[in-house]
């Protein structure tokens, strides 16, 4: 894992002191709320429906046990005993007091964490494949690059007042677990014909009210040139991104207006200049220095067989463990989606217990996934039964990773100032409806993603089944979208039609799923069947009750 040196440590400490000053000026009235807003946002502090919300950066989703313990401490001391892991691999606390926030940031700094640029119109916390450094199918660990990008983007003087927020994701595997094509910019590690690794850069993806799948702007960027290339894209965006309309200000709108050729031309003009200046080249020594922090743990020579256990264990292994590059090891997903629970929430006791578990089993790091779960990247297979038992005792062993109850949901109208409808109760209804594990296994891989408004924090556009909450004259309605994907076969879901009522949506989803079970061929996933047969048959069953009501009413 990356460790701060004296420079990183002082940078974060001074940033905390600076924010303490900003909070003092706000409390004394020297700053108006309008003036304070961009400053607090740049430190992750939102004003929500009921209280402030603090979003803490978990760079590229990686935490050590000490950091996990600190999150538990913050949940206990400054909040109501829980935190919420988000689709951006961050953690949010929903009830901090403004006066406490500088102290929270100071506590975080002691474990090398911060909330810098987790909000605001700047380059946000960089996200990465949550299986980075462990996955069997990976070319290279993308986190050294993510750390280089984190440092470069921290308080970048030219890019802290962009037209809109800017999200960067990185991955080192052809199997996309980081939703690269839905990011403002993304870097994928690729290998060229000569066997060298380099970076493919995508731009212009995004969700929100105008979803786009990103396109390639740099086919193969040399490693030492990557910051020069990323800075070039940022310059084109800062100069030409729209500022007249907040809803058209993301880079996806500019990228779509320019098209890939013109975007490439403008980026290359900047790139040639920056490259010639040479100031942003990343020398090999620096790449190696950062790489060394992310060296994998020393893997023992272990037998590769999966240990046997009871039915609960076997079920958990089936969905919640994943192939690791080292024999005798596995990647384990800790589901934060208990049946009927709030997706992504963890209590202080659970976080503390996870840190203890990491220490006990010699697990140095834990990951936050964009699917709002936690991941143990390097686990000895022989330890899995004991780990499973501990997780089960903590209510953290729900065997549903990748199944229909592994639902992504934004905080929605229960917390969020922007939401039009609640997301959490819909996720809970669906989770209970499909609780039966045999049925979940029969349905197989099916990603349900729920957003409480058009901003799409719950990634509904990328859900195999997406649900969007809307407000119709003060009543919550839920639109269904089918056929989205956030993986390497990225696609934007199609809108089915008018929304369903709060008490109808779960039944409508069930009818859609039942039709899939009837129509599927061979080993088709829901997504495959949808792509083959299209919307019409699903639409017919989903609206059955409404049609019946229309004919008889």
């Amino acid at each position: 894992m990356y460790r701060y040196d004296e420079f990183d440590a002082k940078f974060v400490a001074e940033r905390v002191a600076q924010f303490r000053g900003q909070v003092a000026r706000r409390l004394s009235g020297a700053l108006t709320e309008d003036e304070f807003k961009p400053l607090r946002l740049m430190n992750g502090l939102y004003l929500q429906l009921h209280a402030y919300m603090l979003r803490i950066a978990v760079p590229y989703g990686t935490l050590n046990a000490r950091q996990m313990r600190m999150l538990a401490h913050i949940a206990r001391k400054y909040d109501k005993g829980y935190g919420h892991f988000t689709t951006r691999q961050n953690i949010q606390f929903n009830w901090p007091k403004l006066v406490d926030v500088p102290d929270i940031l100071a506590d975080l700094a002691t474990v090398e964490m911060h909330a810098i640029q987790t909000s605001g119109n700047c380059i946000r916390n960089v996200t990465a494949d949550h299986f980075a450094g462990a996955a069997a199918d990976e070319i290279e660990d993308p986190r050294p690059l993510a750390e280089i990008v984190r440092q470069w983007s921290s308080l970048h003087p030219e890019f802290v007042f962009l037209p809109r927020k800017f999200k960067i994701a990185v991955s080192g595997s052809a199997h996309d677990r980081a939703a690269l094509k839905f990011h403002d910019m993304a870097v994928e590690i690729v290998r060229n014909a000569a066997g060298e690794t380099g970076y493919r850069v995508l731009v212009g993806g995004g969700m929100g009210r105008t979803p786009y799948v990103g396109y390639v702007v740099g086919e193969f960027v040399a490693k030492e040139d990557i910051l020069a290339f990323l800075e070039s894209v940022m310059r084109v965006y800062n100069q030409s991104g729209r500022r007249d309309n907040k809803y058209k200000a993301r880079v996806k709108i500019l990228a779509n207006a320019l098209g890939p050729e013109e975007m490439h031309r403008q980026v290359m003009r900047e790139f040639e200049e920056i490259k010639q200046a040479g100031t942003l080249q990343v020398p090999k020594e620096e790449l190696d220095r950062i790489d060394a922090y992310f060296a994998p743990p020393k893997f023992e020579a272990l037998p590769d067989a999966m240990p046997k256990g009871d039915a609960d264990f076997e079920n958990w292994v089936k969905t919640n463990t994943h192939p690791h590059r080292a024999p005798g090891y596995a990647i384990a997903t800790i589901s934060l989606k208990p049946i009927g629970g709030v997706p992504g929430d963890a209590t202080d006791a659970q976080m503390d217990a996870l840190a203890d578990l990491m220490d006990q089993f010699g697990i140095e790091e834990i990951r936050v996934s964009h699917e709002q779960n936690l991941v143990l990247p390097h686990v000895r297979k022989k330890d899995l039964p004991a780990i499973h038992a501990r997780l089960a005792a903590l209510d953290l062993a729900t065997p549903n990773a990748g199944l229909i109850t592994d639902i992504i949901a934004c905080p929605g109208l229960d917390y969020c100032d922007l939401a039009n409808a609640r997301s959490i109760p819909i996720a809970q209804d669906l989770s209970k409806k499909f609780a039966d594990l045999a049925r979940q296994h029969d349905i197989g891989e099916l990603k349900i993603k729920i957003s409480g408004c058009i901003n799409a924090c719950g990634h509904h556009h990328a859900g195999h089944i997406g649900i969007l909450g809307v407000d119709k004259k003060g009543v919550e309605f839920y639109q269904l979208q089918l056929g989205g994907s956030g993986a390497e076969d990225a696609s934007i879901g199609d809108i089915m039609g008018p929304g369903f009522g709060e008490h109808e949506i779960a039944d409508a989803v069930e009818r859609v799923v039942d039709l899939y079970l009837k129509e599927r061929q061979g080993g088709e996933r829901f997504l495959d069947t949808y792509r083959r047969i299209g919307m019409e048959p699903f639409k017919n069953v989903a609206y059955r009750e409404q049609l019946y009501a229309a004919h008889t009413g």
């Binding site: 940078f11 119109n121 440092q151 970048h156 003087p157 802290v160 620096e286």
Partner: protein, 167 residues
Amino acid sequence: MPLIRVEAGRAAALDDAFTHVADDAPLPEAGGAIVSLARFIKDRDTLLARNAPIGVRLKPDETPEGLGPDLARLLVVAVEFPKFADGRGFSWARMLRTRLGYKGEVRAVGDFLYDQISHLVRVGCDTFEPTHPLTADDFNRALSEMTYVYQPSADGKRTIRELRAEK
């Protein structure tokens, strides 16, 4: 409000040798004048023939590349910040310094905040005409808040990476 100049990381107030001249106003008899880009393009020959310093004011949607070779004859390029959240001026200042090699005064004018001062200095602004009541002391405090920087910009400040390499 006096003008504030930042030189070698220190801020001081000084008298402004330039006057902002509106598009429909006559030029002053003597002394420096700062005009809009539109007026500069329209009255270019008269303005450059005038025996007094001249500067140009850029709106957020006006790139300094629009000045062409005349840039070298300007003593001041003023970058306007009508709203603090509009960050295009940061790119224009940086572009003046690093792409166009401009050595004259780059002046930030308008609605920028205390917390943007260090960013403005980093991208190459050296004089400041803030709408907000910011003093030279405020500038010096703002410039002392963050010791280290991660990325190169137009201020030539040594980056954390360079400092690491020296150790």
